[in-house]
Each structure stands twice: as C-alpha cells, then as structure tokens.
Amino acid sequence: MPHEDYLNARYGIRSWLLTTDHKRIALLWLGSVTVFFFIGGLFATMIRIHLLTPTGYLVTPETYNKLFTMHGVAMIFFFLIPSIPAVLGNFLIPLMIGAKDLAFPKLNLLSWYIYMIGGCFVLYSFATGGLDTGWTFYTPLSSIYSNSAVTPAVIGIFINGFSSILTGLNFIVTIHTMRAPGMTWFRLPLFVWAHYATSMIMILGTPVIAITLLLVGLERMFHLGFFNPALGGDPILFQHLFWFYSHPAVYIMILPAMGVISEIIPTFARKPIFGYSFIAGSSIAIAVIGFLVWAHHMFVTGESVYAALTFSFLSYLVAIPSAVKVFNWTSTLYKGSISWDTPMIYAFGFIGLFLIGGLTGLFLACLGLDIHIHDTYFVVAHFHYIMVGGAVMGYVGGLHFWWPKITGRLYPEALARTAAITLFVGFNLTFFPQFILGYLGMPRRYHTYPPEFQVLNVLSTAGASILALGYLLPMLYLTWSMRYGKVAGQNPWPATGLEWKTDSPPPTENFDVTPEVTWEPYDFKNRPDLGLAAGAPSLAPAHGDD
C-alpha cells in the first residue's frame, strides 16, 4: 500500500465533511446513495410482501399508494440518478483525463450538501404522512386533491435537482478544459464520453422538472391554476412538462452504466473496444434523441394521432444508438481473451438484461400494443429490467471493477462471483413474471389483483428475496475488504485507463507528475507497461475495426 494516499492524508470528520477532494466526495456520495437504496428497498420489500395475496393483507390501500410512490421517489431521484455519476464519475473522471481534480471542487462538495438537504426534505415528507401521488406527481391529484405530504417532497426534489445540475456542469467544464496534454477527445475513455452525454441531459433537462415541481408546489400553496381545469388550467400540460425531463432522466440513469460496461468489456476481453467512435457518438445521439420522445408516456391521454405517430417513430429511433452499443460490445468479445472476473459477470448480465428491457421498450413504443399494456406490470417489468438489470448492475459491476483503485484492496473473488450470479437469478425471478402479469392484464399501482395472478406474484416476491441477498452480500464483503482484503497494487486487472497508472488508492493530487498521453485508448497491444504475457492472442489494432 502506498505510504500516503487520499484516504489517510488527513484525519477527522471535518477533513471529510469539508473536503474538496473529488475522491473523498465520491465516498460521501457512496454512503448517502446506499442509505437511500436501503430506504427505497424497504418500500419495495413491503410492496412485494403485500402482493403475496390477491387481496393484500399487509397495508391499507392508501398506504399501498404511498409505498410505491416513495419507492419510486427514493430510488429514482436519490439513488439511480446520482449513483454512477456522483460515485464513480466523481472519483474517476479527473483520474481518467489526467487532472488533479474537477474544474470546480467546492461546487462538487456543495452538490453533495444540496443533495443531503433535498433528501432531508423528502425524508421529512415520508415521515409526516408520506406521499401517495406516484413518483410521477400527476395533477390535479398532486396539486389539489392529495392529502399527503406533497409540498415538502416537491421542495426536496426541487433542491435535489440543483445537485444534479451542478454535477453535470462540473463534468462538462472539466472534460472541456482539464484534460492532460495529449488526452484528445478521441483518446478519452468511453466512460468519460458517457458522462459527458449524461451531463448534457442533466443540465438541459433538470431545470425543467425543477420549474414544473415548483409550479405544483405553488399551486398547492397559493392555489394558482396552471394545472387546474376549474381555473382554465390543463393537467396534460403538467404531463408534458414532467415527461420532458423524466424521459431524458432515464437516459441519465442508463448512459453512465453503459460507460461502465464500455470499460469493463475491453479489459476482460483483453481487446480494444470495437467501434470506439460509434460508441462515443451513440452516447451523444441517445442524449439528443432522448429529448424528443417524451410523449410516448402519454399515448393514452388523448393526444393527437399525428403526435402519437411522431413520438412512436422517434422512440424507435432512439433504440438504434443503444443497439449500436450492444452490437459493438458483443463484437469486442470476438476473438478476445475472456476472463470471468466479477465485473465481467455483471457486464454480461447487463448486456442480456438491458437487451430484454430495451426491446420491451419497443413493444411499448408500438401504438397499438401500448393501448393494451400501458399502466400494466409490463411497463413495470420493462423499466426494472433497464434500471435494475441494466443501471444497477452497471453500478455494482463498476464498484467491483474500480474497488481496487478506490480502496487499494481486492474483494473476495469467489464470494463476489457467487453474489453476482445470485443477483442475476434473483432479478430475473422477480421481474420476468411481471412481463407475463402485465401482458395478462394486471394493472400497475393496484393494491389487489385477480386470484389467478397469485402464482406469478408469489414467484416475483420470492425472487425479490433472492435479489435482496444478491445486494446484501456485496455490501458486506466490500466493507469487509476495506480492512481485510488483499492489497491490490496499481493495476490488478490489468486495464488501460490513466486511472490505473497511479497508485491504489491514489494520492490526493492523483498523479505525482501530470501525465502526457501518447497512446490510444484500450490499446492492449502497444502497452508494455501492462505486463501482459508475450503469448497473448492476436489483438486487433487500437480502435478496433471502425
């Protein structure tokens, strides 16, 4: 272990709570998002237990509404959206581009504090009556009729939005102005491209939901009428404004995970990624086209058939860059030297589950089909395949991949592989039955269901218990490894990024000497410093075959 690194450079709680070191801030985020993951998971557990029986015995219908609402709010706004960018992005982006820190370190810390304040408002809302409007806050339920603690919740999410905006701003400016000499745009790791695209969405989309929720809060407090038909307002206006952010928001959740996969696959196939510029470009394409599809959440609101056709077409279009990524990742594997380390298991899991989730999105984008499956468990299964099977697996896989860099320790590999498989099995058992349930007509957000759906619901709940185990295990052994894990060394995998050319854990200033980059990304062939054996299988030239 290096003598002085960012973890032991200074001691005491003030050195953590007042740090401006992006690596320490990332760990602050790790703690907070994990807490919210638990909170969201608690609500999910209660939902799944309640749904073990057709008439439900755990909670009242009103409470059930609160459970799925609070599950959504906690998971989406306070876990998924920050997770990879705030934990892995914060930690890695300066290292990956050869900088000493982000462009605005103090704003970075402020971003975490803003998140914590927003989180407090939302937790206050949860504790004082909860929230029953759905995470989607449709009006006029949220703006007029709901008797739950809507106002503190929208204030909390509003505040949290600024956290997102500041992080996105920091990343964009950093990537533009802080790259080390020789680190040109097309030598950037794809993780960085993914976060650039994510940051574009954060800064363009988040202000819109901020103003929208502000208007809902103002309508609740001062009886303004934008969404109130009695005053001439329009509830559908809310839906347009809401989804204008919330659709791109799902790309905020998945793009960073795709960035993680783009780092893991070349490393454990020991091959340059196939189609680097296409993967980079597809991230930007997803960000741009993602802003044009929002009304596919509103096909049954009575929008005009021409609008519906347009949004349906655009939704099919946005699948194309995602497919490009999946094809390129798969092509990277061809003739690679595959090793089955834990991050690779998560990456494979991601590709398969994201494929299913993405394709079922196309089912939903099909107008005729959506009439049948809108607001059913089919939708629930679709987005959980992408958000959990995709984004969360990307997050956990990324945590494993960079754990040696972050902590200087290796996690126990056998146990980790077991946990990854457990997670995969548990996940599929939880959510695949939900596709069937939805297709058979079980509505979402209902506290009861017809008795013939019970078997599938029980399977789903059983799966959830295995999924929970799959999450619990890494929390335990990763924590254990911080003290008792094997010392990792600078580049245990080995991988090609700049972050692996400094100590594990890195010193506070990241690099003793500012690096000068003269090599292409993922170029395993021309990197003798990686110490790869001379008899390695034939490697494609850098940049693959693009």
Binding site: P94, T177, V208, A210, I211, L215, F222, G225, G232, D234
Partner: protein, 243 residues
C-alpha cells in the same frame, strides 16, 4: 476570497482557470434558459388559449413603469460592460464606480417592481380568493385618472362578454406575471448580492488586467438576467396595447 491572480490547486495555468470559470458560467446560463423556459412554455400555451384575458390583464400593468424599468436594466447592462472593460484595462477606480452604478440601477429596478406589486395588491389582482378584475374600475384609488379608469371599465366589461371566465383566466395570467417576474427579481437580488461582493473586492484593488475573471463572469450573469427581462417586458406588458 482568493488572493488576486492566485492559481487554484486543480489548474495548471491561470489561462486554464479563467477559461474554465467562463465556460462554467455559460453552462450555468444554459440551465437558466431551460429553467425559465418551463414558465415561458406555460405562458405560450395559456396565452394561446385565453387571449382575451391575457390582453385585458396586460393592460392593467403600468406601461410607463415597465418601459422605464426596461431602460434602467439595459443601462445597468451598459454600466456592467463598462465595469468589465475598466477592470480589463486596469482602471480600478472606474471599475468600482461602474459596479456601484450597476448595483444602483438594479436597486431602482427592484424598487419599481415593489411599487408595481403593491399596486396589484391594491387593485385586487393577486391570484386567490380576492382576485377580481372588476374591482379597480369600480373602486378608484387616489391618483387615478378617472377618464382612463372609465375606458378600462368599458374594456373589462367587453372582455367579460367575450370570456365569462375572465376572473379565472386572469388568475392564470397573474400567476405567470408574479411567477415569472418574481423568479426574475429573485435572480436580480442574487445578482445584487454578487455585485456587492464584487464592489468590496474592487475597492480592495483585487481586479487587474491579469485577473478580472469574477467581474467578467458576474457580467455574463447580469447580462442574462437583463435578457430575460427583455423577453418578459413585451410578453407581459405589450400584449394588446393598441387602443
């Protein structure tokens, strides 16, 4: 406050630091466009739906005060630009003077806004239970031009004939009026705070031709706030002024 011209730890050169700060402010201003944009969209949709109400409500705003405020704000952008230039050429005293002028003009703007808001309150035009478009024409206030008021009464009655729900739709207009100008005023107050900070630093002689980034960056912010008002003024005050 950082010492003049000192390099922050994460940067390699002062040039990089300056570039980064400016880019950071530009990106932030983009988010502000989207932030105000939500309300501009709401305005557009509601004005299209309730043109009569929006027209008649717009006429209750005092165009002299509004136009005056617009001139004040544009002037303040001029003094701000002059402050940036002064700092860049090393005229420290002039920079301080221009910054104070900008703050002064901004304060005038906010004062006029306060007067306008009070007027709305007196005329029962705050959205809520007491909102009533017919109140002011029926209850002249000291200082009102009775002839003008009579014309207004006739127009209000005509509007009610076209749209019997004027009081409901009028509340939408005024919600947007207070929402948009209120948000704008909040940004001006923040800008005033930033100017106070700049004035303090300028008096301490901190800004030189080598280091004047804070002035430039606050200048960008101030110009943005000005541009928002330039959109707000015609959209709120000038909807139906030809009579």
């Amino acid at each position: 406050m950082h010492r003049t011209g000192e390099l922050y730890g994460q940067f390699e050169t002062l040039e990089q630091q300056k570039e980064t700060a400016a880019l950071g402010m530009w990106v932030f201003l983009v988010t502000e466009v989207l932030f105000f944009g939500g309300m501009f969209l709401t305005y557009t949709i509601n004005r299209r739906a309730f043109g009569t109400a929006f027209g008649i409500c717009s006429n209750t705003l005092d165009i002299k005060l509004g136009a005056g405020n617009t001139v004040v704000l544009i002037l303040s952008s001029l003094t701000m630009a002059m402050a940036v230039w002064s700092a860049q050429v090393g005229k420290k005293k002039l920079a301080s003077i221009f910054l104070i002028a900008t703050l002064g003009l901004g304060t005038v703007f906010l004062g006029v806004k306060a007067i306008e808001y009070k007027q709305k309150f007196d005329h029962h035009l705050i959205p809520g239970r007491s909102f009533d478009m017919k109140y002011h024409p029926a209850h002249p206030m000291p200082g009102d031009d009775l002839e003008e008021l009579d014309k207004e009464k006739q127009e209000v009655d005509k509007a009610f004939a076209v749209d019997p729900d004027i009081n409901a739709h009028g509340q939408l207009y005024f919600s947007l009026y207070f929402g948009m100008t209120g948000l704008h005023a909040l940004h001006m107050i923040i800008g005033a705070g930033l100017l106070l900070w700049l004035i303090k630093a300028s008096f301490a002689g901190r800004f030189t031709p080598q280091y004047n980034t804070p002035v430039e960056v606050v200048g960008l912010y101030w110009h943005f706030v000005d541009i928002v008002w330039i959109y707000l003024f015609p959209l709120l005050y000038l909807i139906d002024r030809h009579r």
